[in-house]
Amino acid sequence: MAKEFHLTVLSPTKSLYNGKVVSLVAPAALGYLGILADHAPLIAGLKKGKIMIKESSGGDVLLETQTRGFLEVKNNNVTIILDRPSGVC
């Protein structure tokens, strides 16, 4: 089974996602960025676009963001911070 890591997606008004995932694709400033477990420490700016999440349970989650944001990878903990509340549809 693929190695998993922890993902948190936060907006100023609520927590949008919190759980174990296998892979993540996010719209970073220089283009879409794929992240798997054991990724090197990274801080990236995010543009608006689609955040694609593959969960450990096998499900797929798609978050479409309307705002910019930030992404941090640190010790298999990934945090995505969106900068406005109405960011996701």
């Binding site: 990274l42 700016g45 911070i81």
Partner: protein, 283 residues
């Protein structure tokens, strides 16, 4: 009897009215507190993440030259942004705040301190104290909106970036639990890096750009969080104070009712005595 029955009855009516008012205020404060409490927790969690990210970035700073990070050589002019309430009846919420602010002013005695007052109580207090008030924001009544935070933030940024101010300090009430809050003073500008270990990290696109983007998010959420914390503390203090007042009124009412009954009994006994003695006399 010292008091007539009528006097006691009117007193009871008054106490009852006061009790109704304090009870209503307690309920209102409770409702406001409940709605804001959740927002505080979420906003605090969000801010903690942003803060962590920002300090990570600042630890990697190269030649970061951003207006809000600029340290001034002399730190003589301070803007103190004090957040208090608009209305009273909230126990020691405001007086605790002013106590701490006084301590701070005494500590920083040699420096010029000017105030940005949020809330009528703060405005009145500093006016009476003859401290220069640069700007005041009144009539929020503990209702938070994005607009308020933006207004305050813009003014503070303007003072710091364009003006002659060396640092901006926030004085707010940190919300712990419904019955526990603590006044805190925190420096907002210039934003200073914390002493922390530098870890290897990748950046996309680069440190400068991300920091530039993150700082507005950070300062806005900082102001938002401290406003929410203060408002939550205000509502919680008012809730507790009014709860106590209602309880006291209830105690007073009980005593009064007891007294009323005693006086009534005494009156009846008196009347019976009078009747029986007159009957005796007439025989």
């Amino acid at each position: 009897m010292i008091q007539s029955l009528r006097q006691i009855k009117s007193k009871i009516r008054n106490i009852e009215n006061v009790r109704k008012v304090t009870h209503a205020m307690e309920m209102i404060a409770t409702a406001k507190f409940k709605t804001i409490e959740n927002q505080v927790l979420i906003s605090r969690q969000y801010l903690a993440k942003v803060e962590e990210l920002l300090y990570n970035l600042l630890a990697h700073r190269g030649a970061l030259n951003l207006p809000l990070l600029n340290r001034r050589d002399n730190q003589d002019k301070i803007i103190l942004c004090v957040i208090a309430s608009d209305t009273g009846l909230c126990s020691t919420y405001n007086s605790d705040m002013f106590c701490c602010v006084e301590d701070y002013i005494r500590q920083e005695g040699s420096k010029t301190i000017e105030v940005v007052a949020v809330g009528k109580k703060a405005f009145n207090y500093f006016k009476k104290r003859n401290l220069k008030i640069r700007e005041s924001f009144l009539e929020f009544h503990g209702r938070y909106s994005e607009g308020i935070a933006c207004q305050i933030l813009n003014i503070l940024i303007e003072y710091f970036v364009c003006g002659d101010i060396d640092s901006v300090v926030l004085a707010y009430t940190h919300f712990e639990t419904a019955s526990r809050h603590k006044v805190k003073l925190e420096k907002l500008f210039p934003i200073e890096a914390r002493e922390q270990e530098m870890h290897f990290m990748l950046f996309e696109p680069d440190v400068q750009k991300i920091t530039e983007d993150l700082i507005p998010v950070f300062v806005f959420n900082k102001i938002k969080t401290i406003l929410l914390e203060s408002f939550a503390s205000e509502h919680a203090s008012r809730m507790m104070a009014m709860g106590e007042a209602t309880e006291n009124a209830r105690g007073l009412l009980e005593d009064m009712i007891l007294l009323r009954n005693k006086v009534r009994q005494a009156n009846i006994t008196n009347e019976i005595l009078e009747i029986s003695s007159t009957a005796e006399a007439l025989r």
